[in-house]
Symmetry: C2
Subunit: 237 residues, 2 copies
């Protein structure tokens, strides 16, 4: 079975459909997306492999998914910390930050030091709406992640990658290949350049929506919010 990818344009339209016609609030969608991210972390990096998880959040909804994931990781017994160099202005992001502060999750400012002390990194910097190029401070952040040996789970897309054409030809991100990727709702086209463990998350689509966008998602198992899928050796979905 070949999973169909959804374009950035269609992914934006799908989110709009969910909120304008589907009755969903951003709070709900982000809660379930972030929950699925936290479950993917649990699958690829058990507590016994090291509790220090650094969640790097970008300024948009991908970063919001990361904030929610960090909260659930704290509940699971990890010691998450959050690096959030360009905070989103949406009041939801500020509320998510408050929730984390009430769980004593630190918001760090010294990224190189935090990178050294962490066992795992969640890349929640940019998602399907990334249009490039990277702006400061993100080129340096991506370079540091790329040069570090820390295992990474990327949310929706490896940050710095073009959503359609994949990794940049040179510069920060050209050699960025996270150990794990969680595609939210459905894979994005750049996944064909990806090699590693691949999960689908965001268990909230209705048949009307999967039909409208021609998605052919396999069934989630049991009560899980996350689904591991195979990427074949030719890099196709």
């Amino acid at each position: 079975m070949t999973l169909k990818a959804i374009s950035a344009k269609d992914a934006a339209s799908l989110d709009k459909d969910l909120m304008e016609m589907g009755g969903w609030s951003l709070d709900q969608l982000m809660e379930l997306a972030g929950l699925s991210v936290s479950q993917a972390v649990w699958k690829v990096h058990s507590l016994s492999a090291g509790k220090n998880v650094l969640v790097v959040c970008g300024p948009g909804n991908n970063g919001g998914d990361g904030l929610v994931a960090a909260r659930h990781l704290a509940q699971y017994g990890y010691n998450p910390s959050v690096y959030y160099p360009k905070e989103g202005k949406n009041e939801l992001y500020q509320r998510l930050k408050t929730q984390l502060q009430n769980l004593s999750v630190p918001f760090i400012t010294d990224f190189p030091a935090a990178l050294k002390q962490s066992h795992f990194l969640v890349d929640a910097i940019f998602g399907f709406s990334f249009g490039g190029p990277l702006r400061d401070p993100f080129p340096s952040i991506i370079s540091q992640i790329e040069q570090s040996s820390i295992p990474v789970l990327s949310v929706d897309a490896p940050s710095s990658w073009d959503i359609q054409s994949g990794p940049p030809k040179e510069g920060p991100g050209a050699k960025f290949m996270p150990q794990a990727l969680i595609s939210l709702s459905a894979p994005k086209p750049c996944v064909k350049f990806y090699q590693g463990r691949h999960f689908i998350g965001g268990r909230f689509l209705s048949k009307d929506i999967t039909d409208k966008y021609g998605l052919n998602l396999p069934a989630y198992p049991g009560i899980e919010q996350v689904l591991e899928v195979e990427v074949d050796t030719e890099g196709r979905l």
Copy 2:
């Protein structure tokens, strides 16, 4: 270990704290509460035991938790239907209804017929804010559930029970003893009159909050949103 119960007054105050100081929206809290309800259903009534789950929703937040649970149950492969005789006016409830309609979950009106066709019932009629007495149409609904042999999971409290003093001495609910109960956040005092499987759900409290209300919740296992606890044979927590 004896679990401490939280009074109705403190439970209301805890919710207020979460929303006014904790940064939580009702959308988020209800999503996680309803998710935990759906996971408790999964534990007490597997898909193979019969997919027809009737979710009976009251007009307030308990009913909202039921609406969210019904949505997750549909995603798990159950065939939920919803009985919602007094719809809440909050726009959130209407959005939750839209989400269910988009999953083709039926809102039934013939309760006696639906009761006969169902394999399991979720009682999301009244929660900790129930002050009695039951008003129409709920006395008849409770009596029908009580007289039926259908297994029931109650959300937060068996509906019709006084939150402090338990089952009514006579009339509808006097002999209502659901097979399972999920206490949201923490058990309510009436749980000392309860005999059956008992779960805790709503994995979102911070230490500040559990300290403030003197709660001594056991740890949730792994990534689960629900925790089964023992009720000892003397009916204490």
